[in-house]
Symmetry: C2
Subunit: 395 residues, 2 copies
């Protein structure tokens, strides 16, 4: 008899976004005149930039002619895109080889699929609050999970505990959901821990493009020795608005060895066996992100979102509300005012300001009493939402 | 210490296509004047049809404007494409619900990833010769594999052995690599076996569009009760030349229950956790395949390849060489003439006719002494290759 993977029955259903939708719908039904502003959205809103659009049209035209048609490509991605990514790292003085770059349909897929190459006996560490994918994918495989608490005391940036042994370590910086970002010096402590414990760090850098100054690290490889212990996951989703276009890349260094075995050939084997590459036209679009015009245009888009983040953080500063994130990140993680709980503040904000955000406790125990706002709305709506917030709290 | 998945070390390296490339390169180096014709290619060569190209351009334009931009879509695919697929089945009198359809980046990905929802204790049956992905993905998970021999006696269409208990059964029809195709009556025997043994059939229908007459079954769901025991994997790769555009779909019936649990919610959970959907523009392209013009244009392309298959089978008929496939399939699986081994015939054909094909033994023990030719070349090259074959054997 075919048996199901019993670990699937152990996954907790997360009703966070459906609960938000339900409460918002109920409020709207009771107050049809309310002008609701959604500040919980984790998706980009600006269209693809012109350089990407031109690259897509050109690639589609290539696919229309026999002499320039592209069938199966290399599962790990085309050289033109892998080379552009190596250049992107080289500009930051990080040396990545083309063979270490794997093009994928997004960081989420790779963050889940990478587990295939690791033993199910490994113990996993995630931070709390956490992007739920790290937890659910490991429950599916039956791995033991340890939570590292993130809180105001550690600035929502937990550091390693030498007394605890973790085999696989998830770090997301700038963080989803908190927006907090590690410095290279802090990442160095994690790298040193990983090398001492023979752990592997799975570093989610999906939001690295939001980092503006030299303070936060844009890559785990800014820490010395990281290429011996870390895999990095990157995405065009937030960098270039590819959430519906689907492209990411994963760096598996050739020098990353565990059990006396280099991991790169294992990931190559996983990808060549269970994946068939990213659409040619999408890879051309992704490469355009690294062109001179592309880079300028996506910078403009990121600046647009950054201005929203500033509008939000300026307001929170004025109101004396504690927060982290918002500087290197489209996410602002605030402490609910007046000791309110996450859901209490959700209802309060919905009712008093007609603003919808995300209750922090949806991301884990340590998220209780916190709340996430995002910078992906328009300037106008963000300003209006903050005007209302001021109104409510300055009364 | 992070430990690797030890099963990865148990996968045999398959050097089939690299060995072909090496031998061909060596011959070309020694005979630079040789005009090599490649008949081993498993990839399409005709460009995307006009309806698909128009849909791609239109979707790219949508992505360029804020009001029609698409960010994250549903992981399981857009309704417009799922509905088109339900219609495609309905035309063949098969009732599929939109919730049973999962859009993916290709059948290869889903055929590998579906295993996530099944226990590693399950015993797996594959046919021999076999598409290597079925074998390697199960070795990666440590499952026991049973081989059902395909041979001339059973027309390369093995039927179930009641004395053997298999939990997961891979069937590929029309088959890769043999091109043999089951009838609905034959599939009924497999479905009856699966229902009796509580097995799940994983039915790879990637080549269904090549079926021309009503004799071969285009879907496992043509067999009664199949929706209680079978998952079907389909692809736009060979149907519409999407090998480099990447789109497929998988049908997980709501009535498929094992361990008292419906499987559809498990697959939904897998996809929402480890996948983020297919690019919007690609889903629009896939939907265009089902439009009136799209359907006509891809039929023309399939006819082009079918004519190549006929050129090949006519030649083999003339020469009295045994083969299967070529009727419902772009693959022709022939018995090497004069008792030659697969690699012996490879070298013979390369040397005497400057034609490159694929040695059957690369697909399994039962492939020894057989050889695969494909219909994906041009009319001119296919005809020239067959002219040379006749010359060699009619001397």
């Amino acid at each position: 008899m075919a048996q199901i993977n019993k670990h699937y029955t152990e996954i907790k259903e997360n009703y966070l976004f459906s609960d938000i939708a339900k409460r918002t719908a109920a409020y709207t039904a009771a107050h049809p005149e309310a002008d609701i502003i959604r500040m919980g959205i984790g998706d980009v809103t600006l269209p693809l930039c012109d350089a990407v659009i031109q690259a897509l049209h050109a690639a589609v035209d290539e696919m229309s002619r026999q002499e320039s048609f592209h069938g199966y490509g290399p599962e790990q991605g085309y050289e033109f895109l892998k080379d552009a990514i190596c250049d992107y790292y080289a500009k930051r003085n990080i040396s990545i080889l083309a063979d270490e770059v794997f093009i994928s349909d997004g960081a989420k897929s790779d963050l889940g699929n990478i587990l295939d190459i690791f033993s199910t006996d490994n113990t996993v560490m995630v931070t709390d609050p956490v992007y739920p994918v790290y937890v659910d994918t490991n429950i599916m495989a039956g791995r033991k999970i340890i939570y590292a608490p993130a809180n105001e005391a550690n600035g929502f940036l937990p550091m390693p505990d030498e007394s605890i042994d973790c085999d696989l370590i998830y770090l997301c910086s700038p963080n989803n959901p908190t927006g907090a970002a590690y410095t290279a010096a802090q990442l160095q402590v994690w790298v040193d821990y990983a090398k001492k414990h023979d752990s592997v760090i799975l570093f989610d850098a999906a939001y690295e493009a939001f980092i503006t100054d030299g303070k936060a690290a844009r890559s785990i490889y800014e820490a010395e020795g990281a290429k011996d212990c870390a895999i990095e996951f990157c995405s065009f989703s937030k960098t270039a608005g590819f959430t519906g276009t689907r492209c990411g890349y994963t760096i598996v260094p050739l020098t990353l060895v565990r059990d006396q075995k280099p991991l790169q050939p294992f990931w190559l084997r996983r990808q060549t066996t269970k994946f068939n590459g990213v659409p040619y036209i999408v890879q051309r679009a992704a490469a355009a992100v690294f062109s001179e015009e592309g880079a300028r245009q996506i910078r403009d888009n990121l600046d647009y979102y950054r201005e929203n983040a500033r509008t939000i953080t300026d307001t929170l500063d004025d109101l004396g509300i504690w927060y982290t994130g918002g500087v290197h990140s489209p996410y602002i993680w605030l402490k609910c005012p007046n000791g309110m709980g996450s859901w209490e503040f959700f209802d309060f904000l919905l009712e008093k300001a007609n603003v919808v955000g995300t209750p922090g406790e949806g991301f884990g125990e340590c998220g209780k009493g916190y709340f996430r706002l995002t910078a992906f709305s328009s300037h106008e709506k963000t300003k209006e939402a903050m005007r209302r917030l001021k109104n409510v709290f300055q009364k």
